[in-house]
Symmetry: C2
Subunit: 204 residues, 2 copies
């Protein structure tokens, strides 16, 4: 990515990115502490500034990086031929959960990006941000006739989205607090149970 960095040990770079995303996702830009970041990443103050120049450039790098990771995940792993939005959203959840395994704070960080800035600001500083990709997730090739006739589809979709989000949230909390570890197949099995319940509830 971009010539901001010299060649760097990838594992060390990930450590820095993770501690930086952690700090920036829990503090607004001004209050986020580069001291905390270097301490958490186990590197010296000087090295961070040697790599990234200053705090703003570090933040800009993280912004591009996190968009890239999400975009790659969606582009490479989503099955666009699947017309069932429940399965589509399940895939999205699984993709996010897998990203979290490698970059635990990437999702929090990018959520903050959207809360703290308007989409216009993001697009302006990030011209090739794949905006249409995000909206297509919920619409492209989706067969809404699967829903029961007379059902308020908008509200049903909300319940579905909220269930996925809260499921992921709680799963993450459990993993972070050590009461379970991430196992792709086990997680998928439990998520499937929720999918089935929602299918019975809302589909013909």
């Amino acid at each position: 990515m971009e010539g901001v960095l010299k060649a760097v040990d990838q594992e060390k770079l990930d450590r820095i990115l993770n501690s930086a995303m952690k700090e920036f996702s829990s503090q607004p830009f001004q209050k986020a502490s580069t001291n905390k970041i270097v301490e958490d990443a186990g590197i010296s103050k000087g090295l961070l500034f040697h790599y990234f120049g200053n705090k703003e450039k570090l933040f800009a790098y993280l912004e591009k990086f996190s968009f890239k990771v999400i975009e790659d995940g969606i582009v490479n792993e989503l099955d666009w031929d699947n017309a069932d939005i429940l399965l589509r959203l399940k895939e999205v959840s699984m993709i996010k959960l897998n990203i979290i395994q490698k970059y635990p704070y990437l999702n929090d960080f990018s959520l903050r990006l959207f809360k703290d800035q308007t989409i216009e600001e993001i697009m302006h500083r990030n011209p090739n941000f794949p905006l249409e990709l995000y909206s297509q997730v919920y619409t492209r090739n989706i067969d809404f006739s699967l829903f029961k006739d007379g059902l308020d589809v908008e509200k049903a979709l909300n319940i579905i989205k909220w269930t996925m989000e809260k499921f992921s949230e709680e799963l993450r909390w459990k993993i972070e607090h050590g009461s379970m570890e991430f196992d792709q197949t086990i997680v998928e099995r439990e998520l499937n149970m929720y999918i089935d319940m929602l299918k019975t509830s809302f589909y013909k």
Copy 2:
């Protein structure tokens, strides 16, 4: 409440409590700024310390205060004879939404209390915390036979809880960002639509 305060103009006190809950719910204790609190409340630095002594005592007062408000809300407004947990949880949502009208950050603040401390710590510093009250909300007098036979009730309850929480969250976001104003009857009507959908889905 407790002799921490001299007689104080109630409206001014509410202003202080609200700005303090706002600050403490967005910053950890150490980083929360008394300067911000007094500025936001429109009072002088000295007055805050005249009232509360120091930052810790202010925080302790807020803790007791927020528990009290929630407890009063539940005790006075919940209909314990209602055996339908969907309606029970709807009542809880409405109570919380009404509290938010007067103390917008009380819910965020008390959520942080639970995230940052174990229940043991809270109970220790707050001996008459109404723990059983909280658990009874989900169990006392509830008729679980209303659910469809063979349904995974635990998961259904999760979907119900998550729907209520996310509904409240999004409503609050809309109100805070000015795209709508709080109207008890309109909100209740929309919440009822979700309740009806969940009833159709999960009840016999």
